[in-house]
């Protein structure tokens, strides 16, 4: 019976916590995340966009199609570019390294992508990728995979001018 009571109280607390966050407040519960943030110096972040050869497609995130090309996000790492002109035989062309990337959208030949907290506009030419624009600190910092409760903000050991680019299991 006591056990049930504890479960009930926990459920209640859990419920309250979740409700609160819905209204956009700062997370105030210091849950211990199973994950730890990976940070990158801002200067490095801004030099990090590059194209490398095709690599194995894993940790699939979002997908986007533009004409005969598929752009497939690998969570927090970047975008796989796949030639899908023959859907029976898609060809993995290249990987665009974009630390902290989850989403993209495309207008004409410009790709908009999140590069951790920044919005970048890039052009992919087949053998190169050019960053043509960067809007800094547009997005909130990447939350831990469990949800929004875990925040790295306010941590004492955080280096200056650093950006969270992903979270990894502790």
């Amino acid at each position: 019976m006591k056990y049930l009571k504890i479960v009930f109280i926990n459920l209640l607390l859990f419920g309250l916590g979740s409700c609160d966050y819905r209204y956009g407040g700062e997370p105030y519960y210091d849950y211990n995340s199973q994950y730890t943030p990976v940070i990158m110096d801002r200067a490095d972040l801004e030099q990090s966009i590059r194209i490398i050869g095709p690599r194995e497609i894993k940790d699939f995130g979002k997908i986007y199609i533009k004409d005969s090309l598929l752009f497939i996000n690998e969570k927090f790492e970047g975008i796989h570019v796949v030639d899908n002109s023959d859907p029976s035989n898609p060809e993995n062309l290249a990987f665009i390294v974009i630390p902290g990337n989850i989403d993209i959208s495309i207008l004409n030949d410009v790709i908009y992508a999140d590069n951790a907290v920044d919005l970048i506009a890039i052009k992919y030419t087949g053998d190169s990728v050019i960053v043509i624009d960067r809007n800094r600190n547009i997005f909130p910092e990447l939350p831990a995979p469990e949800g929004q409760y875990y925040s790295y903000e306010g941590s004492d050991d955080r280096p200056e001018n650093s950006v969270i680019v992903k979270w990894i299991l502790k």
Binding site: F14, G17, S18, Y21, R22, Y23, G24, I57, K58, D59, F60, K62, I63, Y64, I65, K66, D67, L70, F71, I72, V82, N84, P87, S88, N89, P90, N92, I102, D103, I104, S105, I106, L107, N108, V110, Y112, D114, L119, A121, I132, D133, N135, I138, F139, P140, P143, P145, E146, G147, Q148, Y149
Partner: protein
């Protein structure tokens, strides 16, 4: 009478084809995202949803997106779905928000269809919005034990009306192709939704854990944790094309 029936039937057919094209976006130069997308281009603007914030960027010069406004929503936004150039749907953990964006960058809230707290992508055509509600035990934002599809009448965007709900296992992304709804739900499942009060399973591939889908004509492009899988959809059947 027969002639009239044929005309009627053709009209219905044409109408349903039209609605399939409205999945994603239909303006030239814009690609198409899956239902889990948090970025969308509509009406010359880029919309991004992140946490409880929606940002609008001008793409007057596509090479130099300029942030025009930020809008706070009292919920955690997860997905964004543009319908044509005038409407966007934002799926949040507590409901579906419908905005008129024809006067961009202004975003006019038309309505907010509320549901229990869960993770919920949305796709829509001119008549109906299809919202899947998913529970994720390891994510506090959407752990309420609900896994279902809601079909909502949105002919009046200011007054969305729930038509029906159907239980699912653990739905993720979804896509609309005419009267066919494809749902990533412990596999890829194909449903006939021509009658919004019933959900008729036509075909399924349960060999993989599909996460999101883009219907591109009758080409069905799906992704799972393990890769890309494509099908040609014909006469109620998924015909496997390739995996990568």
């Amino acid at each position: 009478m027969k002639k009239l029936l044929i005309i009627l039937f053709t009209t219905i057919l044409v109408t349903s084809c039209d609605s399939s094209e409205s999945v994603g976006t239909n303006s030239s130069g814009i690609g198409q995202g899956g239902s889990l997308a948090r970025f969308a281009v509509a009406n010359g603007h880029l919309y991004t949803v992140n946490n409880n914030e929606v940002s609008v960027f001008s793409l007057a010069n596509p090479e130099n997106p300029v942030q025009l406004s930020r809008l706070n929503i009292s919920a955690i936004g997860e997905t964004i779905f543009p319908l044509g150039d005038s409407t966007i749907f934002i799926g949040t953990t507590s409901g579906m928000y419908i905005y008129d964006v024809s006067d961009a960058p202004a975003m006019t809230l038309l309505s907010n269809y509320r549901h229990v707290v869960s993770c919920d992508p949305v796709v829509a055509n001119a008549n109906f919005a299809y919202v899947t509600l998913r529970t994720e035990s390891n994510n506090f934002n959407c752990a309420r034990g609900v896994n279902q599809l809601d079909i909502i009448n949105i002919q009046d965007l200011s007054n969305p009306i729930l038509i029906s709900s159907f239980p699912l296992i653990q739905p993720k992304g979804l896509g609309l192709y005419g009267d066919t709804l494809l749902i990533c739900d412990k596999g890829l499942k194909v449903f006939d939704v021509s009658n919004p009060n019933s959900l008729v399973l036509l075909d399924a591939d349960e060999d993989f854990d599909a996460v999101d889908i883009i219907p591109n004509g009758n080409l069905m492009i799906t992704v799972s944790e393990s890769g890309l899988k494509q099908y040609r959809y014909k006469n109620g059947k998924l015909n496997f094309l390739s995996a990568l």
